[in-house]
């Protein structure tokens, strides 16, 4: 069920590093690992210098994501947050699926951890395409980086395009209301926007998978929000946490909370009649159902986890 044993059993890409299955395997046992990763890094550098990689129309760059984005996240996932996944089999191995999850933690680390969970621990090693706020794409450095990692704008056009091309997409309908909520409101789901994610799933005929993430709330407990500063900087909120801005850059280190991610039962949408995506009643009801499911399983997972920082 969890992280390291499972990886060792399956020999997931994390061990092999950048090298593919065609990498030479006649190296002596203990040295093979680092030699392969050095060769892999050199090859990666060469591909970067010569532009020998491919991006899709959304800007997703698998080569970059596998070799630059995911490895540091993997350390965070396994060693820092000790993430445990549950019912990962609810995510289909092929075809479109919309994963809807709660959003929290001041910085959207939860989206990345959920993506890594599906990528590393799902039997099909699926790539989770995240939907992000326009603020992400408006920010220098972060915008291009997000596109390379497979994030695209949270709008119905992009979501439907991804879903109907058979991708697994993750969305966080709470948006900034979720990640920017004070610590006192932890694990209380915020409003679910206008339910656009539901209509995207209905019109693409893909199942909705309600996901619950426990642990992200404690990584940067937001004690206060300095609204004037946020307004001046054009940010949705300016967080004050126990370590930030008090400890300066050290405040960027998240607290090592224990994480649980549960993937709920898929809610099918393909049985709905044509035009259901435009029926506000259907959309709101389904959005409520998803929200209720996530809230209930959050409470259940919280009881199960016990102490937020101890295993």
């Amino acid at each position: 069920m969890t992280t390291s044993e499972e990886r060792a059993r399956r020999g997931s890409p994390a061990d092999g590093g950048p090298s593919g299955p065609d990498a030479p395997s006649d190296l002596p046992g203990g040295e093979a690992g680092w030699k392969r990763s050095v060769a892999g890094s050199l090859a990666f550098l060469r591909r970067r210098l010569t532009g020998e990689y491919k991006i899709d129309e959304f800007g997703y760059d698998p080569d970059f994501t596998e070799h630059v984005v995911l490895p540091p996240l993997r350390v965070l996932y396994e060693k820092w947050f000790r993430v445990q996944t549950m019912s990962l089999e609810n995510v289909p191995s092929t075809g479109g699926a919309l994963l809807v999850a709660n959003h929290s933690g001041t910085v959207p680390v939860d989206a990345l951890m959920m993506g890594l969970a599906v990528h590393d621990h799902h039997p099909a090693n699926r790539v989770l395409r995240m939907l992000g706020a326009d603020l992400v794409f408006d920010t220098p450095v972060l915008g291009p980086l997000a596109r390379r990692a497979g994030v695209t704008l949270a709008c119905n056009e992009d979501a439907e395009r991804l879903l109907s091309s058979g991708e697994a997409v993750s969305v966080f309908p709470e948006g900034f209301k979720g990640i920017g909520k004070p610590f006192s409101q932890r694990y209380r789901l915020q409003r679910f926007g206008r339910g656009g994610f539901v209509s995207a799933a209905i019109s693409s005929g893909v199942p909705i998978i309600p996901c619950s993430i426990v642990g992200a709330e404690e990584i940067y407990p937001m004690l206060a929000d300095v609204k004037p500063l946020a307004r001046a900087l054009g940010l949705p909120y300016f967080p004050v946490t126990p370590t930030f801005p008090l400890l300066g850059p050290l405040g960027a280190v998240p607290l090592p909370s224990k994480w649980l991610i549960e993937f709920g039962e898929p809610i099918p949408t393909d049985h709905l009649p044509d035009g259901a995506a435009e029926d506000p009643m259907v959309v709101f009801n389904l959005a409520d159902q998803v929200r209720e499911t996530i809230q209930q399983s959050l409470y259940r997972l919280l009881l199960r986890r016990g102490h937020p920082f101890l295993d």
Partner: protein, 416 residues
């Protein structure tokens, strides 16, 4: 005289001249008149083949006389939305593109003979804002249109064309929206930018997706639209996308990340040395490309571009001299690996461990020359058709009329 009489604008450029030449050698077309405000270069003149050339500025009402006198029924406005280079020519670009189009449309409206109008538009009409969807379909509306600049011009031109369509509902109007055009022959702001040597300045922290269409696909589609009966707007782009830094890397150049506020100053300083110089606005305008959905092009218009975005780009790169050669980089990799006692990974794109198919596309040959197309018939050859067709009347507006000699051969055969 049952065939078409076609007027092509902008024949000093690659697209206009190649299209005019290609149309002139087609049996269904009686007559092709290429117009431009300037005289074509020898290369363009050679491409014109059997087409006549009339030196006429489309901003001058005289253009309506050309249309009337020749009995033009099909107008291909190939010079609309052409992007000009240089920083000072911004007002010139507007003058040529927007006002030129207005004048041409006015002339077309007057002439009762005009039945078909094909206007070259660009993907710039979709604008570029972080609030836009990643991929634009023909129905996408730009989120925010700046008050000046190429995006504004492209939107204005389309607006005038739509206005014309309302006043002349009997005219079939086709408006292909092209992604950035690239190829070994064409000269655009993008090709000049990527030819900067050895460093190419980019705005730090920005990296846009670009989508390209090969010059031969542009000509082929315009030709397809002249003969067909498609009316409306359609996106035209090669499959796939690249990022700007990837393109710079693939061209064997080294991107230099310059903070946006300093971009203008650096560009001005570079203009002091030969073969350098750019304006911040220019770089900005190069990064407005949007990724287009081309489903409509394939399904409704029945046209599939021969080149993908990367394929078109690699065909262009063949004419450049790389600063950082891909082979040299590979050589360095092998040497470093050998020094460390590590076997280097095989050359080529990365393969995902889970998927047997390569993630990257195999690189096209860097030689840049296209294989000769065996399907090209003798009738396409201007030398052969020149002897059979009736001699054409010289068309003179201001005494500068020229006609390309019949015996010229077109440089190389383009892939079709």
């Amino acid at each position: 005289m049952t065939g078409l009489t076609v007027l092509v604008t902008g024949v000093t450029g690659y697209v206009g001249s190649e299209l005019a030449g290609r149309l002139a050698s087609h049996p269904d077309i009686d007559r092709v008149i290429g117009v431009d405000a300037a005289l074509p270069e020898p290369a363009s003149r050679a491409r014109l083949g059997d087409a006549e050339f009339a030196r006429a500025d489309i901003r001058n009402p005289i253009i309506s006389k050309v249309i009337e006198a020749a009995g033009v029924d099909t107008v291909v406005h190939a010079s609309a939305s052409a992007r000009t280079s240089g920083s000072g020519s911004r007002s010139m670009a507007k003058e040529m593109n927007v006002l030129g189009t207005m004048q041409l449309l006015a002339a077309c409206q007057r002439s009762s003979g005009v039945r078909n109008l094909i206007v070259r538009s660009t993907s710039a009409v979709y604008g570029s804002s972080p609030r836009d969807a990643a991929v634009a379909t023909e129905d996408t509306v730009a989120h925010s249109i700046p008050s000046t600049g190429p995006v504004r011009d492209a939107v204005d031109i389309e607006g005038y064309v739509r206005g014309f369509g309302r006043r002349r509902p009997d005219v079939r109007i086709a408006m292909p929206r092209f992604a950035e055009i690239i190829g070994p022959t064409i000269h655009t702001a993008l090709t000049r930018y990527l030819s900067l040597h050895p460093f190419v300045p980019v705005a730090a922290g920005q990296d846009t997706r670009i989508q390209l269409v090969h010059e031969s696909d542009v000509v082929a589609l315009l030709e397809h639209l002249v003969h067909g009966d498609f009316a409306g707007s359609v996106n035209v782009a090669g499959d796939g996308a690249m990022t700007m830094t990837q393109a710079i890397r693939r061209a064997g150049r080294i991107p230099v990340h310059i903070p946006q506020p300093a971009l203008e100053g650096v560009g001005r300083a570079l203009r002091l040395v030969p073969f350098g110089g750019f304006s911040a606005a220019q770089i900005k305008s190069l990064t407005i490309s949007r990724v287009l959905d081309t489903t409509f092009l394939r399904r409704q218009v029945g046209f599939t571009p021969a080149f993908s975005t990367v394929g078109a780009f690699d065909d262009f790169v063949g004419r450049l001299r790389p600063v950082l050669d891909a082979r040299a980089v590979r050589g360095a990799e092998v040497r470093i690996a050998a020094a460390l006692g590590v076997p280097a990974e095989p050359d080529g794109p990365w393969r995902h461990p889970a998927s047997p198919i390569p993630i990257g596309v195999p690189r096209a040959s860097r030689s840049g020359s296209l294989p000769p197309d065996p399907g090209r018939s003798a009738a396409d050859d201007p030398g052969a058709s020149g002897s059979t067709s009736s001699p054409r009347r010289l068309f003179s507006i201001d005494g500068d009329a020229v006609r390309s000699p019949g015996g010229t051969t077109r440089p190389g055969s383009r892939k079709r």
